[in-house]
């Protein structure tokens, strides 16, 4: 049962070839490159969405922080589209892989922190000591702030992994239960099926929210450091 339940999270390889590369690159096919001044509906809709997200996200940043606009819009679109594609049956969701999320979180967080150290050294070091702390508490508070700084990339990665994995697991389990209950008691199977539908709606929301949260936190770390 364990083997079967987690089998959708094994990195797909077909006869030794890592087709996970193709699966990760697939969402880029869904964003066509605009070639004209006035584009077709799909490209125009995506441009409108990108502008909406950019205006909302980049408003609070200084000009230095706004140089990250391309990175952040790519991040939110990539995670959002990958999560949504993962809701299709029998598909593989790359964001369930801890490797990929760590690979996204650590470089982005490190980039924001190192930018802060390079350009505003005093201000970024001052983050380690909140204002108005009593003098005897200072050493302990510096240690706590350091730990909370270094846990940021881990939390980013594990948050995304755990949320998407848990959602997928729940859908597997409840779907399997609904299927098994049909022969035992159809009423209970119907109730379970309704729970499954509600859970699927939740998973749509979670897919988008997790992309937003990831990007928002990276944006926040950037704001602290620019």
């Amino acid at each position: 049962m364990n083997e079967n339940l987690f089998s959708s999270f094994i990195t797909p390889t077909m006869m030794g070839l890592p087709i996970v590369i193709l699966i990760i690159m697939f969402p880029t096919l869904l964003f066509p490159t605009p070639t004209r001044l006035i584009n077709n509906r799909l490209v125009s809709a995506q441009q409108w969405l990108a502008q909406l997200i950019l205006k909302q996200m980049m408003m609070m940043h200084s000009p230095k922080g706004r140089t990250w606009a391309l990175m952040l819009i790519s991040l939110i679109m990539f995670i959002g589209s990958t999560n949504l594609l993962g809701l299709l049956p029998h598909s593989f969701t790359p964001t369930t892989q801890l490797s990929m999320n760590l690979g996204m979180a650590i470089p982005l967080w490190a980039g924001a922190v190192i930018t802060g150290f390079r350009y505003k050294t005093k201000a970024s070091l001052a983050h380690f000591l909140p204002q108005g702390t009593p003098v005897p508490l200072i050493p302990m508070l510096v240690i706590i702030e350091t730990i909370s700084l270094f846990i940021q990339p881990m939390a980013l990665a594990v948050r995304l992994t755990a949320n998407i994995t848990a959602g997928h697991l729940l859908m597997h389990l409840i779907g399997g239960a609904a299927l098994a209950l049909i022969s035992i008691s159809p009423t209970t199977a119907l109730i379970t099926f309704i729970i499954l539908i509600l859970l699927t709606i939740l998973e749509f929301a979670v897919a988008l929210i997790q992309a937003y949260v990831f990007t928002l936190l990276v944006s926040l770390y950037l704001h602290d450091n620019t």
């Binding site: 987690f6 990195t11 890592p18 990760i24 605009p34 990175m71 679109m77 490797s99 996204m104």
Partner: protein, 67 residues
């Protein structure tokens, strides 16, 4: 948990770096948001000489003091 099997981590991370930092950004950096067309303000290349900036007198041949 299959996510903790580190043998596939390198492939996944490299594929993700390629996609996120190169492929997707190549799609999004082509998005342009042009402003609505508006007439451009003219900038003249010739500058008025100091005596031409102020129109103080009206010179016409018939208004010159007659000789």
């Amino acid at each position: 948990m299959p996510q903790l099997d580190t043998s596939t981590w390198l492939v996944t991370i490299i594929a993700m770096i390629l996609t996120l930092f190169i492929l997707i950004q190549l799609k999004f950096h082509k998005y342009s948001y042009p402003l609505s067309p508006a007439p451009k303000t003219f900038k003249s290349t010739s500058f008025p000489t100091p005596w031409e900036t102020k129109w103080t007198k009206f010179y016409s041949p018939l208004l010159l003091p007659q000789q």
